[in-house]
Amino acid sequence: MSQPAEKRTVDMRTIGAWVEPGSRVLDLGCGRGQLLDYLIQTKEVVALGVDFDFAKVSECVRRGVTAYQGDLLDCMRAFPDGHFDRVICSRTLQELQGDPAAVVNEALRVGKSVTVGFINHAFWKNRIATLLHGRKVRNALDPRAWHESRPSNPLSVADFEDFCATQGITITRRAHLLGDWHSPCPFVPNLLAGYALYDLKR
C-alpha cells in the first residue's frame, strides 16, 4: 500500500476502536463506503452512509453499504432524536458548503455520540507551506493544486476545541496524531498534530 493510501485509512483504525459492536452508525460524507464496509465487517454495525455523489453512492451499493444520496442536513432531519448510536463526520467538516455548525448540531441530535476527524490545518508543516513558501497546503488527502481541488474551509485543533466550548459540546475522547497520522501526539497538538479525531456528546 502506498503511503498516501495508508494515511487515508487512519480513521479506520481509530474510529474502529471507538465504535461499539453492533451499533447503528451514520457516516456523513461516506464517499465510496470504505469506512462503513470496514466497520460492518469488524464491528457488525448497522450502517448508513450519506454522500451527494451518484458514483460514490453507486459504489456503496455495490459493496453492500446502504447509502443515501443527498444533502447531509436533509437526510438527518428525516430521523428522530438519537436514532443513531454514532454519527461519523470524517474529513467532511472542512468541505461543507453550507453551515458546519448546523451539521455538527444536527448530528448531535440524531446521534447519541458524534465522531469528527479532520486534518489539522495548524500543523507546523502546513504553517510552513503557507507562511514560508506562500503555497496552498497539500497533503495525502488533498495533494492537488488549488485549481484542481474542491473549495475547503480549513480548521485547526484550537479552532475546533473553541467551537465545541462555545457550542456547549462535550468532548469525551480525543486522538491527536503526529504528521505520520499514526503515532500519538503527546503535546502542543495545535502545532504538532497532523490529524485530529474527537468524540463528542451534547
Binding site: 456503496c60 444520496q69 430521523f79 436514532h83
Partner: protein
C-alpha cells in the same frame, strides 16, 4: 429442455441479445378475491421468461411494468421491428444478466395484453366485462403474480424491479412477501401519488369517458372511445417527458408539410405530429377500460393510508431496497422517491437512495445510461459474502 427443432441460423441472437422470445399464458383456476371484495373464478396472466431457473430456484428477477407497459420487456417477437421495452437493461451480459438470472415479466391483472382484464370475456355473459370487472389494486397485481411465480416453481425472488407503477408493485412485494422478496429495486416511483399526478390521470379518464363511444364501458373489441383514449395518451405522454427533453427533441421545428402561414389547424409543429402518433399507436394496442382501471389503481395506491404510516407499511420488510429517483421527473419527483427510502430507513430496514441527474423526465428509468446499468448491476450481483480488502 424442449425437443423443438433448432431455430434457423438467421434466428440466432446477436451477441448480448436474448433473441426471439414468445409469451406464454398462466391460467389460475382458483377463485381470486380482489381487495375490493369482488372475486373472479380464475384469471390468466400472459408472461415471458428469459434465462434459466437455477436448481436452487432462487435466481429469479421479477420485472414489474408501468401503466402502459406489458410482459414483453426484452428480446424480440418474430416479425417485430422493436425489441421489448426494457431490452437495453435485460439480456446476456447486461445489467440484468440473463446468463445469471431467470427473468420473469407478466402483464398485470386488469391489463389488456393477454392478461385478464375488463376487455376479457365474462364467462357468465359471453361479453367483455367492461366496467363490471372488479376494481384492481397494486396489491391485487402483486398477489396474482405470486401465483404465477409459485406455478413456475420460484422459491424466492433475487429481486423485484420496476419503474413508476412497477416501482409501486416492487414496494408492495417487499411488504406482502417479505421472506420471498430478497431485494427491491424501485425507480421513479412513489408511495402515494400527489394531487397533481391524480389530476393528470383524471383528465385522461375524463377524455375516455366523455367520448360517446365509451358507452359506459360497453363497446365492441375493435371499437370504443378511440378519440378519448388517444387524447388521454397524448396528455399522459407529456407528463413522462420534461420541458428540456421536449425542447431538445422537437424545439419549435415544423413539419415539412406544414402550411407556411400557420393559419391552419393541421399539424404544424413536430411535437404535434409526435403526440398524434403516440395517441394513434396507443389506441391500437391498449384498451380504454384497462386504462381507467389501471390509472384508478395508481391513484388508490397509498401505503401510508393503507397501513397507518409509511414506517408501519414497511415494518414487515426483510429484504434490501434500492430506490432510484431522477432529477427531472416531475410526475413522481425525487422528493417522493427519497421519502420512500427514508421511511424504510426510519423503520430500521436496509435501504439506499440514489438520484440520477437526467433531463428526460419520468421516463428516465428507461434511459440508456452506463451509470444506471452499473448501479443496477452492483445492487443485483453483490453476494452476501464480504470482501476484506480495504485498500482505497
Amino acid at each position: 429442455m424442449s425437443a423443438d427443432p433448432s431455430p434457423a441460423p438467421t434466428a440466432a441472437p446477436a451477441a448480448g441479445e436474448i433473441g426471439l422470445v414468445e409469451a406464454r399464458d398462466f391460467h389460475s383456476r382458483q377463485p381470486f378475491a380482489f381487495e375490493s371484495g369482488q372475486t373472479l373464478p380464475g384469471f390468466t396472466l400472459r408472461y415471458e421468461t428469459y434465462g434459466e431457473l437455477s436448481p436452487t430456484r432462487d435466481n429469479t428477477i421479477l420485472i414489474c411494468h408501468a401503466l402502459s407497459g406489458d410482459h414483453h420487456c426484452a428480446g424480440q417477437h418474430a416479425g417485430d421491428r422493436k425489441p421489448g421495452w426494457w431490452n437495453n437493461l435485460i439480456g446476456p451480459g447486461k445489467a440484468v444478466d440473463t446468463r445469471r438470472f431467470f427473468v420473469v415479466c407478466a402483464n398485470v391483472l386488469g391489463g389488456c395484453v393477454g392478461s385478464t382484464g375488463p376487455s376479457s370475456v365474462n364467462p357468465e355473459t359471453g361479453q367483455p366485462y367492461g366496467v363490471a370487472f372488479p376494481f384492481v389494486t397494486i396489491r391485487d397485481m402483486v398477489r396474482s403474480q405470486k401465483l404465477l411465480l409459485d406455478h413456475l416453481g420460484v422459491a424466492s425472488l433475487a429481486a423485484a424491479i420496476g419503474g413508476s407503477m412497477g416501482g409501486m408493485q416492487v414496494l408492495q412485494w417487499g411488504i406482502e412477501y417479505p421472506l420471498f422478496t430478497k431485494r427491491m429495486l424501485a425507480m421513479a416511483t412513489t408511495a402515494r401519488e400527489s394531487a397533481q399526478a391524480i389530476a393528470f390521470n383524471e383528465v385522461g379518464r375524463q377524455a375516455i369517458m366523455q367520448d360517446p363511444a365509451w358507452n359506459r364501458g360497453d363497446y365492441p373489441r375493435e371499437g370504443g372511445p378511440r378519440v378519448g383514449l388517444a387524447i388521454a395518451r397524448m396528455m399522459a405522454h407529456i407528463t413522462y417527458l420534461s420541458d428540456a427533453s421536449m425542447d431538445r427533441k422537437f424545439g419549435r421545428r415544423k413539419k415539412d408539410t406544414a402550411d407556411r402561414t400557420g393559419n391552419s389547424f393541421d399539424v404544424q409543429f413536430e411535437v404535434e405530429s409526435y403526440l398524434r402518433h403516440q395517441g394513434q399507436s396507443f389506441i391500437n394496442r391498449f384498451d380504454a377500460n384497462s386504462y381507467l382501471y389501471i390509472t384508478r389503481a395508481l391513484d388508490q395506491f397509498d401505503l401510508a393510508a393503507a397501513y397507518g404510516s409509511l414506517e408501519q407499511a414497511f415494518a414487515p420488510v426483510l429484504g434490501e431496497t434500492l430506490v432510484l429517483g431522477f432529477t427531472s421527473d416531475w410526475l413522481f419527483p425525487p422528493e417522493q422517491n427519497r421519502a420512500v427510502a427514508l421511511a424504510l430507513l426510519r423503520a430500521g430496514k436496509r435501504a439506499s437512495y440514489a438520484e440520477l441527474d437526467t433531463d428526460l423526465g419520468h421516463d428516465s428509468f428507461l434511459l440508456e445510461s452506463p451509470e444506471l446499468y452499473d448501479l443496477v448491476r452492483g445492487f443485483l450481483e453483490r453476494s452476501e459474502k464480504r470482501v476484506s480488502d480495504f485498500s482505497i
